[in-house]
């Protein structure tokens, strides 16, 4: 049994499971670094999964489907940005509203399009990449894509002008503004990035399962949120935490097949994960103004 844990199949399963955690977690890092709490990740995943299904179903081309998913994620995130950055409403309330809206909208549209509020028709999946054949784990384009996104995200956040400005508007918007930075524009950009990446995560959910099912995000957006906090609001940390969750889930799948009927086994890896995290990671300090809309005239 234990050699199955370190097998190739196990690794690729772990990566596959980690993707829909890691993409929204990396995206959420951008939103939150800019000072906008984004619990709407869950709703964005769901809406994007649905949009991907519809796009793929109609075009029969998963690439077009994925574009639809990413686009839908962006639009949903933009809505969150309008509500919480431009209109300065409470970011948590806006997030909850979007999550509820996502459940309703997808269910309703699923009924309209597929004649069932719980399941879509089956859609085509993605072909494996032949490139780069020397690294078999990367033959899944989403796995390769996530690795690339992760590296880019890290570099953008810590090495570029945009990253510096994003971090500054999350920590001290008045200071950023006093240096001529347009706070709400930068915050909007952070939220939009979270929409693009969470949208890609949702697209993967639909492509991986070859269909949309009602509520298929299943709390992944919230786990992504936890992961980015555990990862101390850094893309690498967030992705690391997601890998740990993915690994835990993978182990529990393996153990379940070995010990039938012992439901509590499903819990063990999560409990281990929690202890590991509590023991080794320590306190993480959030961006200083997270959750607080920026009011210009207040100093």
């Amino acid at each position: 049994m234990f050699d199955s844990l370190i097998s190739f199949a196990f690794l690729s399963q772990t990566l596959r499971i980690s993707i829909p955690y890691a993409l929204p977690a990396i995206g959420g890092t951008f939103s939150e670094r800019g000072g906008v709490a984004n619990i709407a990740l869950e709703g964005i995943l769901l809406i994007a999964a649905f949009a991907t299904t519809v796009g793929t179903f109609w075009s029969n081309d998963p690439l077009i489907g994925i574009c639809c998913g990413v686009g839908a994620g962006m639009v949903t995130a933009f809505l969150h940005g309008i509500i919480s950055v431009t209109l300065k409403a409470d970011q948590i309330v806006s997030g909850i509203a979007i999550n509820l809206l996502a459940i309703g909208v997808t269910k309703f549209s699923c009924q309209l399009i597929f004649n069932s509020s719980s399941n879509s028709a089956r859609i085509v999946g993605m072909e494996k990449w032949n490139f780069p054949s020397s690294i078999p784990l990367l033959e899944n384009p989403f796995v390769a894509g996530t690795v690339v996104v992760l590296i880019i995200a890290h570099v953008v956040l810590f090495r570029t002008r945009f990253g510096l400005r994003l971090r500054s508007v999350g920590e001290h918007p008045a200071a950023a503004e006093s240096l001529g930075i347009n706070v709400s524009r930068v915050r909007h950009a952070g939220v939009l990035i979270s929409g693009v990446l969470a949208g890609a995560g949702g697209a993967w959910l639909a492509i991986d399962q070859h269909s949309f099912t009602d509520g298929m995000s299943a709390g992944r957006g919230f786990i992504a949120l936890a992961a980015l906090i555990i990862g101390k609001w850094t893309p690498l940390g967030a992705a690391g935490a997601c890998l740990l969750f993915g690994c835990a889930e993978s182990i529990s799948i393996q153990l379940q097949s070995s010990f039938h009927g012992l439901q509590f086994i499903q819990l063990i890896p999560y409990i281990i994960t929690m202890f590991v995290l509590a023991g080794f990671i320590g306190r993480s300090i959030p961006p200083a103004t997270i959750g607080i809309p920026y009011e210009k005239e207040k100093h």
């Binding site: 945009f162 500054s168 008045a174 950023a176 006093s178 240096l179």
Partner: protein, 502 residues
């Protein structure tokens, strides 16, 4: 380039309040101009308008005779205007370099920041203007004086020709003030224009070429510094003659009332903040504590007032030990932050006047407050402490800073506790409110209370204290008689450079 500023008939309202009311303000190129006035006179508002943060409701701004519109700070920066705000605008978690270049980043293609180049530029600037600072350090690890250098470098990095400094000195030690003034004179000799906001008139006399005095949103006068005096400026600022009556009488009795023995405590971040500290204060004595922010004085106060558990040592008040006990120590506490620690801003005056005392048998039974008692308590204290307006049901948020402080003082002193702890009791108050606080403390001293006073205003410490303890990194470096020391001497001890006696 010739820069001269001319702001004409500037008005700015916040709701019903006229923060600036038809203000004319002008500065010549290459001079150091002081802008003075009491708290709330409208100085910061005027400068925020010049820096593009606020838009004036009326009036116009001319730079070098040219009419300009300063809609944003970015626009003001492009005209060579730079401002160091009263509360520093630095991002603690970022490095010095990141803070300086923010908004003006040197980037390669694709937006990558060229940090080595930026660091080099910053090092050159800090050499040239003698503002030493490590460009790679995180701002949160810097002292206040160093942070101020970062703020100045921010302006220089943007080639500012007009530098506005909003009350830069209260947070500095006397040595740091001297250095700052040296730097400002340096700027002047290089042809830059400096606007210095302050309400310390001795500073105005020491460094400025000309002065504008503001009172209640209006400019009272603009004069050359050589043709005026501190007394005249004080009169103009306040609007009538100023006379200080506060005088100390009677030496302290010798009985120690408050004894702190070997106390150690940690900060919120679990770092050692107070190290094995002992002190004692007699009845009728004021012990001042001088220290630069963050040297354990706040934690010490929290231990004495029972708000923080020490890791070692004990606090004894009138012979009884109070340490991690469930009883609140009998201490009147005038806290550092009025709005956050001293008051519930959205409660009324009468409610605030019984905060923390609401469980006394006078004020409440098992299930209810005795409203009549609460009200009569308020009525009496409002009268005794002259709280204005004398409206019991007014929310404290609507009071001026001075009257908010009176509410706290009224509540705390009417407890009649043997020990009084006052932490920055006059911060942000105007001259009259300061006078009130000072005379209240001195009256309690006469009444035989043991008083611990923490203040960053060394003048205040010297005036009120019998002895002054200087704290550095959680320890008392020295204790001196107030009448035998000077601001300068205290400043030297505060930096931890020397130890004396102790």
């Amino acid at each position: 380039m010739m820069f001269s500023i001319n702001m004409q008939h500037i008005s700015k309202r916040f709701g019903n309040l006229r923060a600036n009311d038809g203000v004319n303000f002008s500065v010549q190129q290459g001079e150091i101009h002081a802008l003075v006035g009491e708290n709330g006179a409208g100085k910061s508002t005027l400068m925020n308008i010049l820096y593009g943060i606020h838009q004036p409701d009326e009036g116009s701004i001319l730079l070098n005779e040219n009419l300009v519109k300063l809609e944003t700070p970015a626009r003001a920066i492009s005209f060579g205007i730079g401002m160091v705000h009263q509360h520093f605008m630095l991002i603690p978690s970022l490095t010095v370099t990141e803070n300086i270049i923010l908004g003006n980043e040197l980037t390669s293609m694709l937006g990558f920041i060229n940090s080595s180049e930026a660091e080099r530029t910053i090092e050159q600037l800090s050499d040239r203007y003698r503002l030493p600072v490590n460009p790679r350090a995180r701002v949160e690890s810097l002292s206040v004086g160093q942070q101020q250098r970062v703020e100045l470098l921010k302006l220089l990095y943007r080639n500012a020709e007009i530098l506005i400094l909003d009350e830069p000195t209260p947070v500095l030690t006397p040595q740091e003030v001297e250095e700052l003034f040296h730097t400002l004179n340096n700027f002047k000799s290089m042809g830059k224009t400096v606007i210095l906001i302050t309400h310390k008139l001795s500073e105005v006399m020491a460094i400025s070429n000309s002065v504008t005095v503001m009172r209640r949103g209006k400019v009272v006068t603009r004069v050359d510094t050589v043709s005026t005096s501190q007394i005249e400026l004080a009169r103009l600022m306040v609007g009538h003659d100023v006379e200080f009556r506060t005088v100390k009488t009677s030496p302290p009795s010798s009985m120690p009332v408050l004894v702190v023995e070997g106390v150690s405590a940690q900060s919120d971040r679990h770092l050692p903040a107070v190290r094995n500290l002992s002190l004692s204060i007699a009845g009728g004595e004021i012990l001042g504590i001088a220290a630069i922010e963050g040297n354990g004085q706040s934690e010490l106060i929290q231990v004495i007032t029972g708000l923080r558990k020490p890791t070692a040592g004990k606090v004894v008040i009138k012979g009884q030990e109070y340490l991690s006990s469930r009883h609140h120590p009998p201490v009147s506490h005038i806290p550092e932050d009025r709005g956050k620690q001293g008051l519930v801003l959205d409660f009324t005056i009468s409610e605030n006047l019984i905060l923390g005392r609401h469980q006394e048998k006078n004020f409440s039974g098992l299930f209810r407050l005795f409203n009549e008692k609460v009200e009569s308590n308020a009525k009496q204290l409002i009268q005794v402490y002259d709280i204005r307006p004398p409206t019991k049901h007014l929310r404290v948020r609507n009071l001026s800073g001075g009257n908010q402080q009176k509410v706290i003082i009224a509540r705390e002193l009417s407890k009649n506790a043997p020990v009084i702890v006052a932490n920055h009791p006059t911060r942000g108050l105007d001259i009259w409110a300061i006078e009130f606080v000072h005379s209240s403390l001195l009256r309690e001293r006469t009444n035989g209370k043991a008083i611990l006073l923490v203040s960053s205003d060394l003048e205040e410490l010297l005036k009120l204290s019998d002895r002054i303890a200087v704290m550095y990194e959680g320890e008392i470096v020295t204790i001196v008689e107030a009448k035998n020391t000077t601001e300068r001497e205290l400043g030297i001890y505060m930096t931890g450079a020397v130890k004396r006696g102790a």
